[in-house]
Symmetry: C2
Subunit: 445 residues, 2 copies
Amino acid sequence: MEKINGNITKNTVEYGEFKNYDGQIVTITGYVHRIREMTGFSFIIIRTTRDTVQCVYSPDFSDYRFDERITEESCVKVTGKVVSSKDAKGNDRYEIQIHDIVILSLPAEGLPIVINKKQLDNIQLNTVLDLRPVSMRNPKERAIFKLQEGIARGFREFLMSQGFTEIRSPKINYAGAEGGTNVFKLDYFGKQVYLAQSPQLYKQAMVGVFERVFEIAPVFRAEHHDTSRHLNEYTSMDFEMGFIESFEDIMNMETGALKYIMNLLKTEYKNEVDLLHADIPEINEIPVIKFMDAKELLMKKFKYQPTDMKDFDPEEEQLLGKYAKKELNSDFLFVTHYPSKKRPFYTMDDPNDPEYTLSFDLLFRGLEITSGGQRVHDYNEQVAKMIKCGMNPEEFETYLMLHKYGAPPHGGLGIGLERLTMHLLGFKNVREATMFPRDINRVTP
Amino acid sequence: MEKINGNITKNTVEYGEFKNYDGQIVTITGYVHRIREMTGFSFIIIRTTRDTVQCVYSPDFSDYRFDERITEESCVKVTGKVVSSKDAKGNDRYEIQIHDIVILSLPAEGLPIVINKKQLDNIQLNTVLDLRPVSMRNPKERAIFKLQEGIARGFREFLMSQGFTEIRSPKINYAGAEGGTNVFKLDYFGKQVYLAQSPQLYKQAMVGVFERVFEIAPVFRAEHHDTSRHLNEYTSMDFEMGFIESFEDIMNMETGALKYIMNLLKTEYKNEVDLLHADIPEINEIPVIKFMDAKELLMKKFKYQPTDMKDFDPEEEQLLGKYAKKELNSDFLFVTHYPSKKRPFYTMDDPNDPEYTLSFDLLFRGLEITSGGQRVHDYNEQVAKMIKCGMNPEEFETYLMLHKYGAPPHGGLGIGLERLTMHLLGFKNVREATMFPRDINRVTP
């Protein structure tokens, strides 16, 4: 009887390993990214998992006539000698002198867009998105999402090192977590249910179980606005931690996570950072300003007349970002103590001034990337606050189980993965940093 | 101006660190799990992130009168001396002589169920599920989901070590991935859309970009049946890999992943494995049997009369599981070459016998936990197979972009996380291994 032993044999070599194979014969597999015919020889650029590899076809060392069926986007296996070359790309500057090419598969048609230039030139974003399965074959486009993997990975790795447990809350919910507006409704065997707007209520419940929890998962918001920084489905990176001494514990945890993430990107994702010319921020300390102090600063220093004294508009965020960079030498700025009226019902009011809350937003280069804060943990206090907010506590029986049966002081936050990726890469539109964006006009591909 | 430096100060000590603090004064935080009053002293068991810690209150060394407001499920900070004790629980057998207790919060009511016994005794599953936010406070219940974290973590860590990229496919889809049945329908700004049944089409598209990809995310199936092993929302662990030489590459990758997972559970999740008395399988080699040979075996050896020659029923899976254990000394069994008619349209037929496919299921102790196989990668072949299956290729234009513009030989699989957890722990019902299960009768809590 045949058996599978789980031994994974690897007959191919990655570009990063070429330095150990100088002068030796290796095999690589990949897509034919580009063919450039020169006088008497050809460059055949092979696109592999994470690199493009320059291969040279020449009658001098290639064992056979070039197979004319090989076109760009053919999948091939190339065998040849690793040689160092000043012309070759990449940090290590190795290329392959092709001995043999085996065709693994051939495309049925040529590509509808050019993907083998440095970047996708003069192609409208809508076309890029319509053609994601092929537009992402461009190495720079692909690097966006490899980098995005790194951000989520850094968030997870850091939190696990701090004793957090990864949870998976349900996306089909019986009620909207943060009130009933802007939720997608769903027919569920005759019942009306909702798609999760946030894991808020579940992650708080799990503080009572695991003390520290996080989740990286899709959330759904049926918002009608069509802006460059909103999506109707996005990835929320959430954490919630119990037994905090103050809401600064949450900000410290986030700062620690961001430091870890940025360091991870600079090391394990250096390829992609270089390719994208990503300006990865240095984080030492993050300055903190109170909401009302920020408003005063905007009015006095920037002569800005706010239209809303309870929240910031995008222009105010940008001005605060400029101020943080110029005066405080920081890409990040924590704004704390938002007005109670503008924060959700579960936010803890500041006992010293209950008009304001123990909450914060984090601005990164003038864009809000996080909302967070301490939560109410006392049952009677939470019930009273719900009633004050015009909510019916009886509808939140499950949520209130946490408070009724004992909850530690706790708090947490959420970070939009796509929005952070967008801003880190200096994009103007969050869709550029979203693999398959869903907005009011787009549910395909 | 205040600054946040991201330095995370930890003033408390975990139970696992007590051996370094023998005879010293430490502080711990946690829930009061249980209070046992003895003659002249009390045991106060504190439930921390991952352990319960025995603390002793006695006028001999406790600095104050016991605060009678402290009930079970109060959150407290305990300061005291670490001493070794033969009576104490845990591998290290340390307890704390309480010097001081500070109340951090108090519950509003006593618990509706007893959670501080070894396990939840005589409580119906429906009640356990209704009360998840509190029933999971039982250390054994909680351990189920910590172990589940370990399974997903092992899957991810192993695949990342093998060059896989983590992707996030959209859950709001314009069409059901595997045909139009059993999908939840959703009104999306006036358009009818669907919840993702599987990331199948997206992960295949991403093989053309990253070569090897995986995703761990929720999937949604609007199946009407109400069985002990089906859910309407569950976590699917999927991978897809390109440039395979045969479909055995996929089985080897899965076997490697399972070995890694089981080893991770035995080491980093030993606490939970012990608490749950989990029987973690040893994996050396996994035997392989062809579908038709398995049918023959069932008929000849077990005198079983199959009702369906294209698939197995649960009883047949159990018999095959017994056979694998008894005759082949394996908890796992790969069944390959399922009939073409029973596998999805993207499955590659066996070129030697096109009635059958290059596909497999993995049985674990007599239960199917994986479906996988090689996919069609040639455009014309895929279009022809779709037409043969009665599908309209024009409706799958985005999907077919992969094939049209070049796809390597590839394949992959999916594993249901909750089902694997259930079977690993010997549960009869998948809901026991699902934090917040959704089925035809349940969308709460």
